[in-house]
Amino acid sequence: MSDSILQIRGLGKAFGGDWVLEGIDLDIRRGEFLTLLGPSGCGKTTLLRLIAGLETVSAGSLHLQGRDLTPIPAERRPVNTVFQSYALFPHLTVFENVAFGPRLQGVKGAELRRRVADALETVKLGELAARRPGQLSGGQQQRVAIARALVNQPLMLLLDEPLSALDYKLRKQMQLELKQLQRRLGITFVFVTHDQEEALSMSDRVAVMNAGRIEQLDTPRRVYEDPASLFVARFVGEANLLPARVLEQRPDGLSLELEGKPFEAARPQRFEPGGRVHLLLRPEDLDVWSPEELRRQPEYQARALAATVEEVIYKGAEVDLLVRLESGVQVAATAFFDEEDPTLEYQRGERVFVTWPAGWEVLLPFEDAS
């Protein structure tokens, strides 16, 4: 494929007999913002280090623009890393930190000063060039780390949780700046995070990882709205899972038994009759009605599930509800204040009905996960 810059095939890594990464197949596209998302210990850093050459490959291959990367040591790969700890050189000024890479390439004098100044300008740190890393704030250090990597004009920039040490506000701001920077420079970014919101808001594509494997590689939207597995569904956002039984498989849909009632799923998915499935519903997809309200919504009446309000959590712009269905399954629903329902008055113990727009449910193979 011509638009792929790095091809990863069957990549695996073992530490002393333990496989921490297995069967990774991944094509990274030129100029994309790809995020590796996954829980702690799932192998995100290890994958980055394999690409950077800081770890040796145990199985599989990596090809950068068609060239086998395996025999090339880290110092000769056209790839740079922004480390989670920043790893700035404490004995060098900001200028010298950024100049480190170009100097090794033999860049000198006015050309060196211009390139370093440009890189520092890119991260808006021009006036701090003479400081040492110890005299900078966390956010400034992080930007130096980015400048130090960018100045080498790498084919790919690898960023290992670069924002995790920052406070919420700075983090939001840096997310935006990073995204703008990536768009402006057109460099391929491989970004690691275990924050799903960060992954969804910044990336062109997200690779959701679990226990050393990639569970799903897709656009943020599809990862969220159409998760490939229960793991992805739960890791990316909040998920309500309703167990159901397959009654009949038809070409245009599926008849299910849900909460003791028949339920027609619109999406044509393949499941064995008699088998069990999970319906995935995001809290914001659910509507919660009082009995009087439901009477005014005839189209929902047949499908509405009866429930009892257990908890009401006021959040300013929205209200989070925890309701329990008659089968005993607990479900979270988010209701927003809007012109349709400006009051959102719910009482604990109140009888309500839960519905969702037809076809918004996602069917997943049943997994006994608690």
Binding site: E75, N80, F83, P90, T93, G101, L104, A130, A149
Partner: protein
Amino acid sequence: MRPAPRGSLFRNATLAVIWLWLLVFVLAPTAMVAVASLLERGTDQFVTAAFSLESFARLFDPLYFQVFWNSIYLAGVTTGLCLLAGYPFAWLIARAPGRIRPLLLLLVIVPFWTSSLIRTYAMVIILKANGLLNGLLLWFGAIDQPLMLLYTEAAVIAGLVYSLLPFMILPLYAAMERLDLRLLEAARDLGAGRTALFLRVVFPLTLPGMIAGCMLVFLPALGLFYIPDLLGGAKILLLGNLIKDQFLAARDWPFGSAVSVVLLLFMALFLLALVYVRRRRADAEAAL
């Protein structure tokens, strides 16, 4: 441990003990030496209470210049060799697996458990004409005649290096242990090969340890009189030998004291220069 609050009895008592110790065992003897250096030699006592600069004047004898330069030369060579040997040694310890590191450190420290004097005698036994080393070389047939190893400058330097090497290794180890390995990875990621890695990252970051080690070797090396005595056959003089001889053999306390004062001043100047350079560097950084 939290520092005891100011003005607490424990804190005051501790400080008092330390000050008393410094006063009685450091300041007082030094002052006595300084005073003695300005007095005249006595006939029936070691010194007589008469002011004289005579001892210092005698130091300008070229003979003593020779001793002075010789000391600096030997101490310098010793320091250089300790650095060359100690640097890779300390690196290996610092990079050894965590389990065996304490063991390796112990091996560095074990020699301290016996007196340095006794270990120097052991070196005599190894190096002398019919000693262990010559015996071994003869037995292997590497030589037909015993080598003249003892009573050479090389033997003195070997003795000094052997005695002082731990003082180089320990501060170097401390600096290397603290070295963040992630910085080395960052440097490689930025394109640094082995040489650049050492020159641009490892060397500057271990420089404080190197300076500390060099001082801990160089300054004592000027005064370790028994090593030239035993291994150099008293042919090679250090400042330490000169001082010892004046006090014990020539019984010229004022002159011995004068040499001591000069040695002390030299060391103090050395340390001051170092502090000055460091402060200048810190100031230059702060000014940026």
